[in-house]
């Protein structure tokens, strides 16, 4: 399974891997242009493949401004 963490929403979900980042975002119900998807210190592009057993973080970039 892929562990998907959304620290600002204090939410986590697991999805069967492998999966493309874009599909992970769709499954998490998140608009792609409103977030960064990170893995440690790496930034992932939307077409990247995430393998089974890996963890990714979805970080919202939208602020009240």
């Amino acid at each position: 399974m892929i562990l998907v963490r959304m620290p600002q929403k204090k939410k986590e979900l697991t999805l069967p891997g492998p999966k493309r980042v874009l599909d992970i975002l769709a499954a998490a119900g998140v608009r792609p242009t409103t977030v960064l998807v990170t893995q440690g210190t790496r930034l992932l592009t939307k077409d990247q493949r995430v393998e089974d057993g890996e963890t990714v973080d979805i970080i919202s970039v939208v602020s009240g401004g």
Partner: protein, 313 residues
């Protein structure tokens, strides 16, 4: 996906609105050029400027400070501690850590010490937190700039912020706000300093990606007062449009800036006249504190007066 610029490294940031994707190094170059171009286009900053950068602890303002330093501007950071339990303290810590890593120390205005911490000041003056916050921030931007010899105040508003604000102003036909919406607000003399938004060309996503790749540690939590901010609804609407039609946001805002003159002629001059006279007439001085104002006492002193009265009750 490969980087579209160097065609060697793997891409880390994809930018559908620019039909592009960059590796970290090439993205830094791209981002820096966008900011430089934004500064150049409206002559926001001069090499000799002393720039007061307003930092909140969020990504935008810290990225702004970082890139202005990198571009060689003479900058200091101003942190206004809003006096919001927990949130303000965490923001202050991130700013202090960032500044220290760049060999700097932020200028701090503590609203508890000034007698107007936002939550209490709002309650006592019976106003919305964000409206009180706006008055207080504007006051200290001008005051710190004037007393410490800064020639310009810079804030971290990005393209998404400005496009969302534009959409809101259009939906409500706020002629006076439209008139004043611009990356450059000239100083009006008498202590009202020039205000600029050097990040107006870069999106919120680009700014966040830049901050992340540069390892800038910022507060990701929102100001607790910002719940149900309407600006988030406009941002949501624009990101829906952006997804279907990449580039919409920047076409909306850049189009407004280039066509602004013609466009505003459609609005009645009566509406526009609500804005304070720009340039031609100088503000007077506040009878209480001497700050520049178009009224007899400035908005900040009127607020403080209300806050004081609220306390006695």
């Amino acid at each position: 996906m490969k980087c579209k610029r160097c065609r060697k490294a793997a891409a880390a940031v994809d930018l559908p609105s620019h039909h592009s994707a960059f590796c970290p190094d090439c993205f830094f170059v791209f981002f820096r050029r966008q900011v430089e171009e934004g500064i150049r286009k409206f002559s926001l900053l001069e090499p000799r400027d002393r720039v007061l950068v307003c930092v909140s602890g969020g990504k935008d303002s810290l990225v702004l400070w970082d890139i202005l330093m990198e571009l060689g501007y003479d900058t200091e950071g101003l942190y206004i501690d809003l006096g919001i339990e927990g949130y303000s303290d965490r923001s202050g810590e991130k700013i202090a850590a960032f500044a220290a890593s760049r060999g700097k120390e932020p200028i701090v205005v503590d609203l508890r010490r000034e007698g107007v911490p936002i939550p209490e000041a709002a309650k006592r003056s019976r106003k919305e937190e964000c409206s009180v916050c706006g008055t207080v921030k504007r006051y200290f931007f001008n005051r710190v700039a004037a007393t410490r010899g800064f020639t310009v105040v810079a804030t971290g508003h990005n393209l998404d912020d400005e496009a969302a604000r534009l959409l809101g102003n259009l939906l409500h036909w706020h002629g006076d706000h439209l008139e004043r919406q611009h990356p450059l607000l000239p100083g009006e003399g008498g202590g009202l300093v020039r205000k600029v938004k050097p990040l107006w060309r870069v999106s919120e996503m680009e700014t966040a990606a830049y901050g992340f790749l540069k390892g800038i540690d910022y507060v990701t939590e929102e100001c607790p007062m910002s719940e149900d901010a309407t600006s988030l609804v406009y941002k949501e609407a624009l990101s829906l449009l952006e997804e279907k039609m990449p580039g919409t946001r920047s076409r909306l805002y850049m189009g407004f800036l280039t066509k602004k003159g013609t466009f505003l002629n459609f609005l009645t001059s009566a509406e526009i006249n609500e804005a304070p006279p720009s340039g031609a007439e100088h503000p007077g001085t506040c009878a209480v504190c001497g700050a520049p104002t178009y009224a007899e006492t400035c908005g900040f002193c009127r607020l403080k007066e209300k806050v004081g009265r609220g306390a006695v009750r």
